[in-house]
């Protein structure tokens, strides 16, 4: 069973976005996405200060079998990346909604969040 925290927003590309704190959101991939990928062995993260438009590839998550782009659900500037994933990429599998987060982005346009799905809609979307 997928677990999709009620406080997050979700994209159709299977990323989650945390609630906004001081203009910054945390981004990760969903439980459904990590399950589809299988064992994550490498995460290519952006650099702090990089800017992305919604829909741009912001990271690459690699399983044994394939490299998958992570598309930014929002527009903004990366203010922090989860460097712990360098040593422990499998955290994306074991805790996708928590310690397996990818990066934090300062939003350029908070209204973009309105276009994302809530947990209920995303859960239905995955079925």
């Amino acid at each position: 069973m997928s677990t999709n925290p009620a406080e997050y927003k979700y994209s159709s590309e299977h990323e989650w976005v945390s609630p906004v704190v001081d203009g910054v959101v945390t981004i990760g991939i969903t439980d459904h996405a990590q399950s589809e990928l299988g064992d994550v062995v490498y995460v290519d993260l952006p650099s702090e200060g990089d800017s992305f438009a919604a829909g741009d590839s912001i990271a690459v998550v690699e399983s044994v079998k394939a490299a998958s782009d992570v598309y930014s659900p929002v527009t903004g500037e990366v203010v922090e990346v989860n460097e712990a994933l360098d040593a422990e990429p499998g955290t994306v599998n074991s805790d996708p909604n928590g310690a397996g987060w990818l990066c934090k982005v300062r939003l350029s346009d908070p209204s973009e969040l309105d276009a994302l799905m809530d947990a209920e809609a995303y859960t239905a979307f995955c079925e």
Binding site: G38, V41, Y42, D44, V60, S63, V64, K65, A67, D86
Partner: protein, 360 residues
Amino acid sequence: MNAEQIKNTPLCDKHIALGARMVPFAGWNMPVQYTGIIDEHNTVRNACGVFDISHMGQFVVKGEGATAWLNGMFTNNLNKLVDGMGQYSIMLNEKGGVIDDLIIYRLGEENYFVVVNASMIDEDYDWLSAHKPEGIELTNLSADYVGLAVQGPACEEVFAKLCPGVELPVRNGILCFNADGDDVIVCRTGYTGENGYEFFCPAAKGVQWFEKVIDCGAKPCGLGARDSLRLEMCYSLNGSDLSPEKTPLEAGLSWCCDLTKDFIGADVLRQQKAEGRPTALVAIEYTGKGAPPRHGYEVQLQDGTPLGELCSGVLSPSLGKGIGMAYVPAALGKIGTPVNVMVRGKAVAAVIVKKPFLKK
């Protein structure tokens, strides 16, 4: 390849019931993993796994003159085989390029069992048919068998429970016998580098035998682990590491090409042996940190000179680092040469190493 053309093995529903993730491979709908590729990989290295290899092809060739004819079709020398033994061999085109790699077993005098790649069954059959003299019988039995590759250090314990009282054939040997009323074939070979065997049973009984093998202690494993296991051993995958444009000498398979006999493509190999092969399939191992190496990534000398592209690549679960193989100009492919693998524009430091990656 559309959905109508994709084929299912008789075990397909069972794979899905076991929780497998199915993917298209060589025209077949196959399990890529059940619990996870790394877990399945480690199971085969440390215990015992079972792979569905029903997609692979089986031919029987028999009749007066079969040995002489096949010696003209394949690179290895069948005169080295006694009854009940097999050998790895290669079928070449007129240019010396690889059509398919295969294992051929001598069942008896002028009677052979041949196991070929899934993607090449029709092409191999057509090529052999087109060159076959009158009087020799070539039969495609690919649809008649379910194949189960049982691999790993615990495979003998599994077999003792599966077929009590039957002794496994020696390495590269074949044994045809009756088990629980079914005519089955066991070949002592594999594609993982571990102790193992390939078990062929009637297709209609495939699910039952698959369940029996699992009950006897083997864990179902998918093509993902099969690929990482074989690449750690530098076993070639036709279509990736072998191609009609490359000779077996370039692929590093001269050990199974007997140039003292004549076979299709032999002249090209002799010429290449005399003049030097243009490229060589080398083993490349990461020394630096970076994203896993994959098919198609460019390989360069560290000064930026392009060498070639990876034909296979994976993050080795056993070694914990990136490994891959690429055809590079033979003169530049010396062991110990530092190279870069280009991943999304970033250079990852690597080195050309001796095969195989996993020394056992």
